[in-house]
């Protein structure tokens, strides 16, 4: 039998171990068992992983060998050989089991490691995704900030434009107001001028080179006297009203006579008549500083002294009204030299 010879060959080293090395080997059961035990002994994995079971197999083999050398009955030897053979198989199987268990342990560890690696990578990917999302969010935020600033600039520009429009509007309004004011002032000035004209017309003033002149005729005074008649008082009333209305205006009151009689008397009368008018104005509340009065006697006739009518015209008091600045043109700038006698001295 082939297996028998193989087993016998494998069993040769075991003879060295066995106490009964000199025993001839004839029993095939014993041979099979020895081969199995020797095979187990020569298997480094069995030696390493199943030493207890291998030891039991070797022990069982020794018992079988002893029984054989002790010439115990063959059935008993076969029984022990069976036990040895099975113990050897158990040792082999135990080694295989331990190996598989070690493999399970290491594979489990490996699986845990790989699983951890998978989770780590997943976490890294999640982290990368989160980081990328973060960057996107930041970018969006930055864009929003840019938009916001642009909106502010646009708003400011709009506000600037509104302000400019308002400024233009207010300027226009101001100009309009100024125009209205100017118009009002013009109207006012016009009114003033008209009022002045009316007042002067009331006074029956006539324009001359020295200004407006109100002439109070001889008939307004008692004959040969400086006493004012009621008509003269009325003219003085009007004159006082005028001077109150136009406080910048000043007056020069000048008295004149005809050439009849004593020139000294005439000079005195002209002065008294001018002064009477001055005092009447002062009586009516006009500041004396605004009034000058002077008599010229027979000088500056306005008509011929050769007839009654001319002499009556020459007996008079002239009230010269100043310009708006209070200035009165000096007498003599436009003397009536061609009428009557020339100025004295």
């Amino acid at each position: 039998m082939k297996t028998w010879k193989l087993a016998a060959g494998l069993a040769l080293p075991a003879f060295a171990l066995g106490a009964c090395a000199v025993m001839p080997e004839h029993d095939s059961e014993l041979t099979d068992a020895r081969a199995a035990v020797v095979a187990a002994q020569n298997d480094p994995k069995v030696v390493e992983l199943a030493p207890t079971e291998l030891n039991q197999a070797v022990e069982a083999m020794h018992r079988a060998d002893r029984a054989w050398s002790d010439h115990r009955d063959v059935e008993y030897v076969h029984h022990l050989a069976y036990l040895a053979w099975t113990r050897a198989a158990i040792a082999q199987e135990t080694a295989r089991m331990k190996e598989a268990e070690a493999s399970v342990a290491s594979a489990t560890a490996e699986r845990d490691r790989v699983r951890l690696e998978a989770r780590t990578r997943e976490a890294q990917r999640a982290q990368a995704r989160a980081a990328s999302a973060e960057i996107s969010a930041q970018r969006a935020q930055a864009q929003a900030e840019v938009n916001r600033r642009q909106a502010i600039v646009a708003q400011q520009q709009a506000a600037g434009a509104t302000q400019a429009a308002q400024a233009a509007r207010s300027e226009a309004e101001q100009a309009q107001q100024q125009a209205a004011l100017a118009r009002a002032q013009a109207a006012n000035a016009n009114e003033h001028a008209q009022a002045l004209q009316a007042a002067l017309a009331e006074l029956q003033a006539r324009p001359t080179d020295r200004g407006m002149v109100v002439t109070m005729g001889d008939l307004l005074f008692d004959t040969g006297s400086a006493h004012l008649k009621p008509g003269g008082e009325r003219i003085v009333d009007n004159l006082a009203d005028f001077m109150r209305t136009y406080p910048q205006r000043r007056v020069a009151i000048e008295g004149f006579t005809d050439s009849v009689g004593n020139p000294g008397y005439n000079q005195d009368l002209s002065e008294r008549r001018a002064d009477a008018v001055r005092l009447a104005l002062i009586d009516r509340g006009i500041d004396p500083a605004r009034i000058v009065a002077r008599g010229y006697g027979e000088e500056y006739p306005v008509a011929s002294n050769g007839n009654v009518a001319g002499r009556q015209m020459n007996r008079r008091v002239e009230v010269v009204i100043s310009d708006v600045n209070g200035v009165i043109g000096s007498r003599g700038s436009a003397p009536l030299a061609n009428v009557g006698r020339g100025p004295r001295g």
Binding site: H78, L83, A107, T108
Partner: protein
């Protein structure tokens, strides 16, 4: 080869049984009842069953159970030597069955774990792309 060897052993054992009985009749020393050996064998068979030897190594478990039953029979008939031998063989058969069952289970478990490792590695490779 193993089963044929077992059958051969069975036959020789059966043949030896009558010789032992004959020898026992004239033997002056009767061996003690192998009660503890039977208990050990019974425990070994139970252990093999709990290790699912019925699934993984039914033949050896069957042998062990059969020898245990016969050991009980021999014990009942007063053949203690035969009962002891059968109990011893039942024990090693049961131990072999249990060890094979555990070995096969561990091997299968190792294969499964390695397969799961490959699956995980495939997953990592897929996700990495």
């Amino acid at each position: 080869m193993q089963s044929s060897a077992t059958t051969k052993r069975m036959l020789t054992l059966a043949a030896a049984g009558s010789l032992v009985l004959a020898a026992a009749g004239c033997a002056t020393v009767q061996p003690a009842a192998p009660t503890s050996q039977l208990a050990v064998a019974r425990a070994a068979v139970a252990d093999a069953r709990s290790a699912d030897a019925g699934t993984y190594d039914a033949a050896d478990l069957h042998n062990a159970q059969r020898k245990l039953d016969r050991a009980h029979d021999e014990m009942a008939q007063g053949d203690y030597a035969a009962a002891k031998n059968l109990a011893e063989e039942a024990e090693v058969d049961a131990r072999l069955a249990a060890t094979r069952a555990r070995s096969d289970k561990a091997t299968r478990a190792a294969t499964e774990v390695q397969a799961s490792i490959r699956a995980l590695q495939d997953e990592i490779t897929r996700n990495a792309q």
